[in-house]
């Protein structure tokens, strides 16, 4: 199974995401943001960081990178899974691949801390009920209208919710999926909880859920 970590100017979680994917048994490559041939990958990850310095708005410039055109086609084709983590999630909402938008954290500044998450998408995360993962963001306040929340709830597209809302997100939502369950976005950083020396190893559960999902739901040839 092959994975790619897309690197934009300003991306800063690429290395640990690469290591985490490798530790989860995926053959992994870095992709510079002007690369467009992504069809060989089963999982494409937009990692965390400050793509284009977060100038204008987080993700607002990165969504126009050449790689994003291919990403849109990749999603339509059902070829594999697209996962956006933190800034990657912000890019996906800017690109309209996931619903909602982000505002500045309610407290007005950056927060880096370990949070408890309640897993909601039980089909994706079989047998996992709670996760302990790090958040690290200034603009993690996920905003989505009530009608969409209802839809997300009905279609079980909310991946997880914060046990204690750290940033003001609507309904404490910390991660969502698109309607086909091939695009996932999450604010917490699973890659920071994957190594034996990390405070938690729950990030591995997220990546193994992605692997299972790829096997069951994409056009990947086994």
């Amino acid at each position: 199974m092959r994975a790619a970590v897309v690197v934009f100017p300003g991306t800063n979680c690429d290395r640990e995401t690469f290591e985490a994917l490798k530790a989860s048994g995926l053959e992994t490559d870095y992709l510079w943001h002007n690369w467009t041939s992504i069809d060989v990958y089963d999982l494409v990850v937009l990692p965390g960081g400050f793509s284009y310095g977060d100038y204008l708005r987080p993700g607002a410039i990165a969504r126009f990178s050449p790689v994003m055109n291919s990403v849109e086609k990749y999603v339509e084709s059902g070829r594999g899974i697209l996962l956006g983590i933190c800034n990657g999630f912000q890019i996906l909402t800017e690109a309209g691949l996931l619903p909602g938008a982000f505002l500045r954290n309610e407290c007005g500044h950056f927060i880096c801390k370990m949070v408890d998450l309640e897993v909601k998408a039980h089909e994706v995360f079989a047998n996992v009920k709670r996760l302990k993962l790090y958040i690290a963001h200034s603009d993690g306040n996920y905003v989505v209208d009530e009608k969409t929340v209802e839809l997300l709830e009905d279609e079980k597209r909310i991946l997880f919710k914060y046990a204690e809302n750290p940033n003001g997100s609507s309904h404490s939502i910390a991660g969502v999926a698109n309607e086909n369950f091939c695009v996932f976005g999450m604010m917490p950083h699973p890659e920071r909880s994957t190594m034996p020396y990390h405070e938690s190893n729950d990030g591995l559960k997220v990546f193994s859920a992605m692997r299972r999902w790829i096997n069951a739901h994409t056009s990947r040839k086994a």
């Binding site: 300003g10 800063n12 310095g53 950056f110 880096c112 190594m195 990390h198």
Partner: protein, 694 residues
């Protein structure tokens, strides 16, 4: 010589210095040349008051950062101050301080992996505190280097002169280590990074004088762009892998001028600069402005002639400007050309060797051996200390710093030292701290206590100290008292590292921390890098298990320390047996490596009672302490150690070469000190007082 006094003042230059230049040059310098001397002979670039003393007392390299080795992996580290800019514009001052020290690390070819900062403010939550912390947060988080530790201390003495010292740490393979020393004639000086503008003009001379409220210093403060810095880091890492790169230098104070002349002078070569080739962001800049500009996010590389294109290609990928701006020559001259017109021609050695103004003023600073006693309950004093902003939890600060980006963080802010993963089961322990109260009371003994404290932090977290760096924050060195404090600190530091047997790998000096005639207390800050041999076998920072015995290792009956946090009465610095302290450090390292210590915390601000209370609060596990040790007195090299029940005999046999006492037992819901019962929640409430401001 007819140079008017105003002109000299504008250049922050004395008439003596000017006359010296004229004598050595055999003529009067032209305008561009005068600006060159103004910057290069400033205290900030030239270290006039410190260079000679430091060379005499320490063996430090002239590379951009110090380095220690874990087999083939080099750990590059350095501390730098950005005090003056933070006093004027706290947010940009702190942000560019981070940017500057990071470039020192990448100039070694090292990838930055951690930041620590030592901050001294008047009080929490004023505009300087808020500005500095958000500056660190915005810039550090964006460039993806985790801020993993340091300290925040408060004292009214820093009301006009806050101290902002940042330590950066990077890793580099032996084969990729870079030098700042130029080699070979005719090689190309290539500038990479942001365009050059008028920002930060006179930054070096601004940082070399006291802060004067009547002068508008804002234009001397540079503006940071973390996105450019992040690209510059990545580009530099790629460029450093090229075979054609001979030397690397960051651009800090006095920009192009100081970085290129230092490079050439380290290699004993001449240098020609073509100033019109520098990519500019403003029109009409004069040659001296281009030379002295402190525009941020720029690096300079010396490249084999003909290979400039390889650098330019990488710069283009990262959307950075690059240009060949000069070349090395076989002469001893530093020449500056503007469109073929010769603007300056000076002997390089004259530019890079400002006059020595260091002074060896001897002063005696007393100590006392009078043993300190405490009688009566501890509750009110303990709660007062725990809520003192210097001791209180800094959660509201470190949660604003990304301390886990990079995925290498093993233990950060709550630990005595931060622990960062390096390779396999190896890690490094990092500590940075100062104590202006100690060093004000007795600079010579105080600096040793600061040095030992940074080492005890590393040891308590399971590390073995390998190398030391420092940042010397002092007042105006032209004042006798300040010169005496500095000389005493140098001597004390030399004595301290000799006792410890750990090398000093580098340092930084910040003078003129003075405003309206008020000097800051001498505040040397020490950074230590240690190795953690097995990251899976490090002791915990908090109490772990009910029934385990608690020990205090280190001197039991200690003299009164006039600089202790609890102390309200004036006094002297304690008489310290430093050799005994050094033995304590070695003994604790030994019992930790033998895995006889379950949890360890060093005793520092607030003494033994505060250290025990912190261990109890950390895991919300009570403790019962019975001891005649002074609860609040401070003395170097002391540790609280929790030992596994049943292994007391083994443990005591290992530590009998130093003073120790069994002082209590872990367990219960309360913190009990000699029968006095305090609830953990009341301690915690006091300890979390800083957060109530939110």
């Amino acid at each position: 010589m007819h140079i008017p006094q105003e002109k000299l003042e504008k250049m922050s230059m004395t008439r003596d210095e000017y006359e010296r230049i004229v004598n050595l040059l055999g003529r009067e310098p032209n305008e561009t040349e005068l600006y060159i001397f103004s910057a290069m002979w400033s205290e900030h670039c030239g270290y006039k008051h410190s260079k000679k003393l430091i060379k005499e007392h320490f063996r430090v390299s002239d590379e951009n950062a110090g380095i220690v080795w874990l087999s083939d992996i080099g750990i590059a580290f350095k501390v730098e101050s950005h005090n003056h800019p933070c006093a004027v514009e706290p947010f940009q001052g702190a942000a560019t301080g981070i940017g500057g020290i990071i470039r020192d690390i990448i100039a070694m070819g090292a990838k930055p992996i951690a930041l620590l900062d030592s901050l001294h403010f008047e009080k929490p939550h004023d505009h300087i505190y808020e500005g500095v912390i958000s500056g660190i947060s915005v810039y550090g988080n964006s460039i993806g280097v985790p801020t993993v530790g340091g300290e925040v201390r408060f004292d009214p003495a820093y009301s006009k002169n806050p101290l902002v010292n940042v330590m950066a740490v990077g890793i580099v393979g032996r084969e990729n280590l870079k030098t700042s020393k130029a080699q070979g004639v005719g090689n190309s000086v290539v500038l990479v990074g942001s365009k050059t503008g008028r920002d930060g003009l006179h930054g070096a001379s601004f940082a070399s004088r006291k802060i004067d409220k009547t002068i508008n210093d804002r234009p001397s403060v540079q503006v940071g762009d973390p996105f450019a810095e992040k690209r510059l880091i990545e580009a530099t890492m790629e460029i450093c892998k090229l075979d054609c790169v001979i030397a690397v230098q960051d651009m800090g104070a006095a920009g192009i001028l100081s970085s290129t002349t230092e490079m050439a002078s380290h290699g004993k070569l001449g240098l020609d600069l073509f100033i019109d080739r520098v990519p500019l962001r403003e029109e009409g800049m004069k040659p001296w402005e281009i030379l002295l500009s402190e525009s941020q996010e720029r690096m300079v590389f010396l490249v084999k002639k003909g290979h400039e294109g390889e650098i330019e290609k990488i710069a283009r990928k990262w959307e950075l400007d690059s240009a060949k701006i000069g070349e090395t020559t076989s002469s001893t001259e530093f020449r500056v050309f503007d469109k073929k017109e010769l603007m300056a021609s000076l002997p390089l050695s004259l530019v890079t060797n400002p006059p020595d103004l260091s002074r060896e003023i001897e002063r005696e600073y007393s100590t006392t051996a009078e043993v300190s006693k405490w009688i009566g309950p501890i509750e009110s004093e303990l709660l007062c200390l725990l809520s003192n902003p210097t001791i209180a939890s800094k959660k509201s600060v470190y949660e604003r710093y990304d301390h886990t980006v990079g995925g290498r963080t093993i233990k950060a802010p709550k630990s005595d030292a931060a622990i960062i993963h390096i390779a396999d089961s190896k890690g490094i322990a990092l500590s940075l701290g100062g104590n202006g109260k100690y060093t004000a009371l007795n600079p010579r003994e105080g600096i040793k206590a600061v040095l030992f404290e940074a080492c005890t932090n590393v040891i308590a977290s399971g590390g073995k100290p390998l190398g030391i760096t420092n940042c010397m924050n002092f007042g105006n060195p032209e004042v006798d008292e300040v010169a005496a404090q500095f000389y005493a600190t140098i001597k004390g530091l030399e004595e301290g590292v000799k006792i410890l047997g750990i090398p000093i790998t580098g340092g930084n000096v910040s003078f003129y921390n003075e405003s309206e005639g008020e000097q800051i207390p001498p505040t040397p800050v020490v950074g230590v890098v240690g190795v953690v041999k097995n990251i899976y076998r490090i002791p915990k920072p908090d109490f772990t298990r009910k029934g385990n015995p608690i020990y205090m290792i280190g001197r039991l009956k200690v003299p009164h320390n006039g600089a202790s946090m609890y102390s309200k009465r004036k006094g002297f610095f304690p008489t310290v047996d430093w050799k005994a302290c050094s033995r304590v450090l070695n003994t604790v390292m030994r019992v930790i490596s033998m895995e006889l210590a379950v949890s360890v915390h060093d005793v520092s601000d607030g003494g033994v009672a505060v250290a025990c209370a912190e261990m109890a609060m950390g895991s919300m596990m009570g403790a019962k302490i019975s001891t005649d040790i002074h609860p609040f007195e401070e003395y170097p090299a002391r540790f609280i150690v929790e030992v596994q029940k049943g292994r007391e005999g083994e443990f005591e046999a290992e530590i009998n070469d130093v003073e120790f006492a069994r002082i209590g037992i872990v367990g219960g819901d309360d913190f009990i000190w000699n029968g006095e019962r305090l609830s953990l929640s009341s301690l915690k409430k006091a300890y979390e007082s800083l957060e109530e401001f939110e």
